[in-house]
Symmetry: C2
Subunit: 435 residues, 2 copies
């Protein structure tokens, strides 16, 4: 190999490609891509601009958050422990109506900062003013799979306008920032968009060659209401109108029938499992084992910071496991290694990006995190998978690399001014409340 | 006031005494006790040896872990995602049989280090060689409510021996280390001790003036087995034999009948709610609202690090809330402030120590933590209770004070050598596996 840009050595590598882990391993990065993965002993001849001694650390693929609304950092903690309806209608929606593009940018930057500091390197987002989220991705150095949301809610003109915005966003930003931004269309849900609009969205996504990101079967109440109205479940309905033909990322999937699960499997729909928010809003538990058994691909998401309230994928991995063991009353369900897959390679697949990211393999993009295991809660290290899933926290992430660029080293973020980003977002949020 | 030992000022204080919170507050400590709580502006005349500018921090009572087996840090991650029976019989028990007193000490010290670093100042422990846990409490500076465990399991001689050990421990260590150690008797469970032994334990506890710490209604399988054998539930049985008359701390309480709940209420039994381990072992969820409605006092516990796998009470607070909202499918259940109470003042009450600890009030022991809120996941600070419960992690704790002594400042632990403690425990654990 010609001279590498970065060489990381001396760490335990968890490549997430079914090779298990590599002790005393090394990784070389060249032109933003992984150029070598193997034993440190086999990397001694590799020259590099930057050499990182990662002894006492675990290297693994950056975590992939498959469902969030990042700018909602602005509303973190603003309305807690309330019924979903009150929360949305009386607090969140009136505030969102006042949101300006620059507010969304400030919230998105804070979210990007939080994600870098907790080891997330790629996130799937759906919100409004999504162009500013793309700008936050560009500035922070993260990778984003972004969709401008479309909610019709009985208002055809509004639906048409949001549809145009979503298509416009996807046309402009797919591939933006050296390919770190990928665009999807963002129909909010089957119950909040009309059939005509959903069909149009599906066709337009196909024309643009992009996928769609939507909410699916989140609330039992909505499920029953939808079924009464259409005589079909949300999944059956979407299948009937041909919406599930393309690349679909569907968040939540709590209330599914057997038939629904079979349809999701047959159509290759990707599920974003969102355990923390599903619990916090008292909505129930997705039955992940039943989906995985049918070979449905499952990624993990945090949801927006108003209903979680963090963007910490380590916490989400742990709660994801806890919730499944509880849902099946069985401690063997969803073992640690499996949830690590959901947070990495299966997450990448859910975003249609598993050719580029999600595992540490030569030729893939260099999206890598280093976890510091010299912490009391990580000792003794009997089981590397259990340590990451059951013991590690976002704050144990020491170094974050995306596209071969170091975004954080020794917990110092290099692409964003941490203090200024926090202050700006807090000022924005308080100002929003007083408008 | 004469000169204070420590003055903390400029912080937001959450006293947990129903006064809400105090902005720009100050705390003075004298002879290990809290001598002043109020506004910084009212504390300007207080002289002190040590002054801590705590601007940008929250001061609150140290967290109280009401149920754990701290030395089990040694086995953290050793046997994951397995059925309870296999886990216990094939892995944990054979290892425990090889445990020496010095092994337990090494594990307990690691646990104490982890607790200090995540803001726990007092813990209720039940294990073997508990005298070494008392020594770890002494050295680390923490506060411990400790019980030597008693398991009879059909072997009367063994039961008698462990009973004597437990009584002996309580006699020797109650009040140890300037009162930072308090002793209880530790009957493992109703199903693992005979009626005769349980009666003797109750009588001896009363004679010694100490409480008991036990497991109760943890497993549905055990519940049914017990009921078949005795014709009574565990709770009814313990009540019938007079065991619930004294101070009882009962961990888990998942499988309770209506009648059981009424008995717990009438007898003033204290429940340790243990959400993470209950989920991880696939055992189910305690119904906390139903207990609180009957005025049962509820504290929070992590359980041992083999079934959690951390001792992080911040994580436990969050999961405690998530699990209740899920169990009742209702987002208004167990609001943030209520779980903060469980982790502090109600936890103190569960340990019979609410006269001394659990809230920041003049005259109480100075067990205080400072939480650093200058972190992206804590911004913006719309709601202080939600920030602590839903956003904060153990790693956000900056300073820990117990009995008026600073155990950690700026995340540097002063009473233990962090590196040596981790290395010793890891070496011990690996050695144990190879014996």
């Amino acid at each position: 190999m010609e001279k590498a840009d970065i060489l990381i050595y001396g760490c335990t590598i968890l490549p997430m490609d079914d090779r298990g882990f590599i002790e005393d391993g090394a990784l070389a990065i060249k032109n933003g891509k992984i150029a070598f993965v193997g034993k440190s002993a086999s990397a001694t001849s590799i020259e590099a601009e930057i050499k990182i001694n990662a002894k006492g650390k675990i290297a693994m693929p950056g975590l992939i958050n498959c469902h969030t609304h990042v700018p909602m950092t602005l509303f973190r903690g603003i309305a807690e422990d309330q019924p979903l309806d009150t929360w949305l209608k009386e607090i969140i929606w009136p505030l969102e109506a006042k949101l300006r593009s620059e507010d969304v940018y400030a919230g998105a930057l804070l979210g990007c900062l939080e994600m870098i500091k907790s080891g997330t390197t790629c996130f799937a987002d759906m919100y409004f003013h999504e162009d500013t989220v793309a700008k936050a991705v560009e500035k922070s150095g993260l990778r984003g799979v972004l969709a401008e949301g479309i909610i019709e809610a009985g208002n055809t003109l509004l639906g048409e306008k949001m549809f145009k915005n979503s298509v416009n966003f996807a046309s402009r930003f797919n591939g933006y920032s050296n390919g770190r931004v990928k665009a999807l269309l963002g129909p909010h849900a089957a119950y909040s968009c009309s059939q005509d609009l959903l069909v149009k969205i599906g066709e337009e996504a196909s024309r643009l060659g992009v996928g769609v990101h939507t909410h699916l079967a989140e609330s039992k109440l909505m499920f029953r209401k939808f079924e009464r109205k259409h005589g079909l479940s949300e999944v059956e309905f979407l299948d009937r109108i041909g919406f599930l033909k393309g690349h679909v990322l569907a968040a939540h999937c709590i209330n599914l029938t057997k038939k629904d699960r079979r349809i999701l499997s047959e159509r290759g729909v990707n599920v974003a499992y969102v355990p923390v928010a599903n619990m916090k809003l008292g909505l129930g538990s997705a039955k992940i084992k039943d989906l995985v058994r049918l070979s449905v691909n499952v990624g993990l998401g945090t949801d927006g910071p108003t209903s979680n309230n963090t963007l910490d994928m380590f916490e989400t991995m742990k709660v994801a496991v806890l919730l499944q063991k509880l849902a099946y009353l069985n401690p063997t369900v969803l073992p640690a290694y499996e949830v690590l897959g959901m947070a990495t390679i299966n997450g990448a697949r859910a975003l249609g990006s598993d050719g580029n990211i999600g595992s540490l393999e030569v030729g893939k993009k260099a999206d890598i995190i280093l976890i510091d295991i010299s912490k009391p809660h990580m000792k003794p290290l009997h089981n590397i998978y259990a340590s990451i899933v059951y013991s590690a926290r976002g704050s144990d992430v020491d170094t974050v690399i995306v596209d071969g660029k170091i975004l954080m080293e020794n917990r110092q973020v290099k692409t964003l001014d941490e203090q200024a980003t926090m202050e700006k977002a807090e000022r924005t949020a308080f100002d929003l409340l007083s408008r």
